[in-house]
Symmetry: C2
Subunit: 251 residues, 2 copies
């Protein structure tokens, strides 16, 4: 009932109609941890590497924010996430004392981020939401990475927006705002959907409306957000629940 009340408040508080939905991807739509662990194991185990593959995934992901911060602060020019992931991979391989990997394998391993699996509600949820709204990822992942995830998982995007389109990284306001602009929307005509309160707080700061999706096991059992820790317009269990709530408010 608390969540139902929030859905109603979304409808009542905003006079502007909702016209577009944009989505965080890593963690919100796809299981990066389980997929990276699987891909790393498939490539490295046959080469004699024996490590905790989930810890390896966590270590690689831990390099993510510091690398983007160099772009956000202007220390380095915009570089697509594939490039940052590759630089981060070198750091992580050293951490795990994996020092004899050939270049072809490193390239394949870096592309593991293009082979992440979606949570099961995502493709059917996006198909329903697309009937009412323009939809796009607003991820820090680059265009080709988003395209490969879409093809793998059947995401029916209208466009690929986000960091590479804006040439900067979330949570900078320009990334959210440039997605709204591309869809010819005012910021408050766009709903940012994410499983991370920090992403939603930044989107709200940029003028967007926000929806939280629970991914309580994103970073391992119990290590994910089961509810938002910031004020949001709507909190949903998953994308099918989100479609139910938004469908109810627009039909």
């Amino acid at each position: 009932m608390a969540q139902g009340a929030r859905a109603v408040s979304l409808k009542n508080r905003h006079m502007m109609p909702l016209r577009a939905l944009i989505f965080d991807v890593f963690g919100t739509l796809v299981d990066w941890r389980g997929s990276i662990a699987r891909e790393a194991r498939a490539l490295l185990a046959p080469r004699g590497v024996s490590i905790d593959w989930h810890v390896f995934a966590d270590a690689w992901r831990a390099q993510y924010q510091p690398a983007m911060e160099e772009v956000r602060t202007g220390k380095i020019p915009f570089s697509k996430l594939d490039v940052l992931h590759r630089r981060n991979l070198e750091v992580v391989l050293r951490e795990f004392a994996i020092d004899d990997l050939d270049e072809v394998t490193k390239v394949q391993l870096n592309l593991a981020w293009h082979r992440l699996d979606a949570w099961p509600d995502v493709a059917p949820g996006l198909r329903r939401l697309r009937e009412h709204y323009r939809i796009a990822p607003c991820s820090n992942g680059n265009v080709s990475l988003m395209v490969d995830l879409a093809r793998r998982n059947g995401f029916p995007w209208d466009a690929i927006l986000g960091a590479e389109f804006a040439r900067d990284y979330k949570p900078k306001a320009v990334v959210y705002q440039s997605a709204a602009t591309a869809f010819d929307c005012a910021p408050d005509e766009v709903l940012m959907v994410a499983a991370h309160s920090s992403d939603l707080a930044a989107a709200a700061g940029a003028g967007l409306r926000t929806a939280h999706v629970a991914r309580p096991d994103e970073s391992g059992p119990g290590r994910g957000e089961h509810a938002p820790s910031v004020a949001v317009d709507l909190a949903a269990r998953d994308l099918l629940d989100l479609a139910d709530r938004l469908g109810a408010s627009v039909d």
Copy 2:
């Protein structure tokens, strides 16, 4: 046979595999002239306007290149095509002495460019091509315009690339090259598809491979290119013919 020989030469001359196809849209995929004439008539005839609707469409289109040239030369900052179309509309309305149009009607008329119909081969052709290649528009039209045309006509794009992504207008090389970069491709791994020789000459100059599609009636009966006037890698009758040729060269 001449065209068959070209398809073979495409295969033999280039050692790099073809990985992505990008497309011109206005004229190549959609019938801008017939659609704008229809939309203008539907909006203006009930308001007592009686003109030659195809001549009106031609006049609006005639303002297209001069407006973009102001962006290309740096005279004005990048503005999305919807904005240039609206500015051009004011010019054309004056030309036709239509001086009493309300703002809502002008907005609706400007969005006529979002309601263009595709040539009949395009949607089935793109569906076939997408099985083998990443595909995106590389148009001077903005993202929302491309999204609306895709939804209207069933274009299954992987991403929306082109002018708004590059923040400049074709035929500047950066527009073609930024599309290749977004797809993680070298320029010569990408095929630019267009019905206009000038577009293909610029794409070739930027390092891309090129395919011409015949649209002999684009600007009225007999007023379109039935064949390229520049060297191209491949010349096709339409997108189904293009799919046949590329399918034959990759299977």
